[in-house]
Amino acid sequence: MISNERAFAWGASIFVVLIALLAPLAALGKFQTLEFAYVWAFAIAIVGVNLLTGYCGQISLGNSAFMAVGGYTTAIVVTRLGWSPLATIPLAAVLSAIGGVLLGIPALKLRGLYLGLATFALALSTPSLIRHFDNLTGGSQGIYITGAGKDPFGLVEAGQLTSEQWLYYLAFVFFVLFFLFYRALLKSDVGRAFRSIRDGETVAVANGISLRYYKTLAFAISALMAGVAGSLDAMATSYVGPDSFDATIALALIVGAAIGGLGTLAGPIVGALFTVWSPIYAQVIFKGRPDIAYGVLLILIMYLMPQGVIGGIGRLLGLRRGVRERMVAVPSTPFGPVTAGVDDEH
């Protein structure tokens, strides 16, 4: 017997996939198709953030740096070595994953806000690093990627697909692959280890879980996803520059992840929608200064649905989404115990 919850999840997924496949052909114009390509690319990056922060409890604000690695890898290899853009994606993935492992080494020693600060510093210094190594990166001018929108199968050239559609489907396919991977990962022992680390490192260690192995793994996977996302982003924009992946992007990733719902499966999709579309809609709501609308929206969501949209919906529908699973003594969240009238003296 399939429970209500699983039936709902299957139904929703099939619905979303169908719409996602058909929309660019039937309903969306060029601009919107490209924007949704960005949505799927960001969704990949946000899945990575969700894994690292929502499921493994590591507050990392540095994934924009890995997006930069991915984006610049694609740009440099396509323009200097003449590879087809699609082929650069695995390379971007590998390089970013290595970067993630490297970041993981010092990150093992840091926790909570301190980890957030250190990774944020990485995000902040990325544009400077890019500018500095200008022989490789083109410095402040950036790199223009010609032919980014062409597919290796010749469909775009033959007029069967527009380049926006090609980029959209490319991003979507990668998203689906990563989503399935991420879902499987969470169900496996690795996923259990991640959650156990999030809920209490001391207890996890007592249960024999190697912090070093799993944390490094989490950093590597999330960096890999960020790299692929950066690569796709570069293709969609046909340009990378030092400010393409700056601290604003780093913050947008964590904001998107939190708004969608950290530690929820479907959160990243909502998060990506928010990240890509809210600046546009904020412009509509408040033509003068979209920042203000964006900020107000962010704060309101944190007031009303601090678990994010998916988390909030889950609670409303009473779906068994881990709230009951964790009703032992003091309920905890990834970022500290929820004070429930308990003494908080040191």
Partner: protein
């Protein structure tokens, strides 16, 4: 190579750079202090600290330029406005999420960042404006070394602000209540302390200190909505270096960062654009070697 460097750098030049570094360090120290104040009170960083400071600096600008009020009146008036504003922000916007997990607070302060940045742009536009300085730009010669009044003035005002804050916390009853409320909220409640209002006052003070910082920075660069962003970065570095929960550390950290940046920027070639990377490295090294910073306490993990 290194010896050439030292031959070129005269003592005079070094002193000038150190003084300049202390002056900018004072700016970083002030903003770092504001960050530390809020961190001590609620274990979270206020990402909007710089934007709030920019906003109050714009208010000062309006008072000076549109209302033609004299500087000696505008400066304290702006600080008062900032303090009241900080209290209001805490009571209205932060209070509903006071006890929320760190990530929620971080996001709310990010929202505030966007709002204040947007408001500055909305009300005053993105036109770049000069901000008057209370200090003359002529240099003063001390022992043969030319130092600008500007730098001395910065050091003086920063020092005064920091001393006042120290006195407030160490010697006044309200300061004691705030310290107690930040460290031991539950026990303080049992003594009748309204912990929520102490938190609001903390935000008010932080905003006030930020306002001072903004009014000191504005004459040096230009006044636009992105005024405090790089200062905020270095203030973060300073706060981490000194110890994120230590006011003394914030001050020392700020001065160290200021001086190091000035010296490195002047005497080591080709690294001007790597200053931020330098900041990143400092943060990483400090957090690994001594997470509490120079003066802070080690963060205790609750099991």
């Amino acid at each position: 190579m290194a010896t050439d460097l030292f031959l070129v750098a005269s003592v005079q030049g070094v002193i000038q750079q150190v003084v300049f570094g202390l002056a900018t360090g004072g700016l970083y120290a002030s903003l770092a202090l504001a960050l530390v104040l809020i961190y001590r009170a609620m274990e979270t960083l206020n990402f909007a600290q710089g934007e709030m400071a920019t906003f109050t600096t714009f208010i000062a600008f309006s008072l000076l330029v549109y209302l033609h009020l004299p500087y000696w009146l505008v400066f304290p008036a702006t600080v008062v406005i900032a303090v009241l504003g900080g209290i209001a922000v805490e009571r209205v916007i932060i209070r509903p999420v006071e006890r929320a997990p760190v990530i929620t607070l971080v996001l709310v302060t990010l929202g505030l960042f966007a709002i204040f940045n947007g408001l500055s742009g909305l009300i005053w536009g993105y036109v770049v404006r000069p901000f008057p300085s209370p200090f003359p730009t002529t240099p003063v010669f001390i022992g043969g070394v030319g130092i600008s009044y500007q730098d001395l003035g910065l050091i003086g005002v920063s020092t005064a602000v920091l001393v006042l804050i120290w006195l407030f916390f160490a010697r006044t009853k309200v300061g004691l209540m705030m310290r107690s409320a930040a460290l031991y909220p539950e026990s303080s409640r049992l003594l009748g302390v309204r912990v929520g209002w102490m938190l609001a006052l903390g935000w008010g003070l932080a905003a006030g200190v930020g306002a001072v910082s903004g009014m000191l920075v504005a004459p040096i660069t230009v006044l636009d909505p992105n005024l405090m962003q790089s200062v905020l970065l270095y203030a973060f570095v300073a706060a981490v270096l000194g110890g994120i929960d230590s006011p003394v550390g914030a001050v020392v950290g700020g001065l160290v960062v200021g001086v190091l940046l000035a010296l490195v920027g002047t005497y080591i070639p080709n690294v001007q654009d790597l200053r931020l990377v330098f900041g990143f490295l400092v943060i990483i090294v400090v957090l690994i070697v001594k997470p509490g910073g120079l003066f802070g306490r080690e963060h205790v993990e609750r099991v």
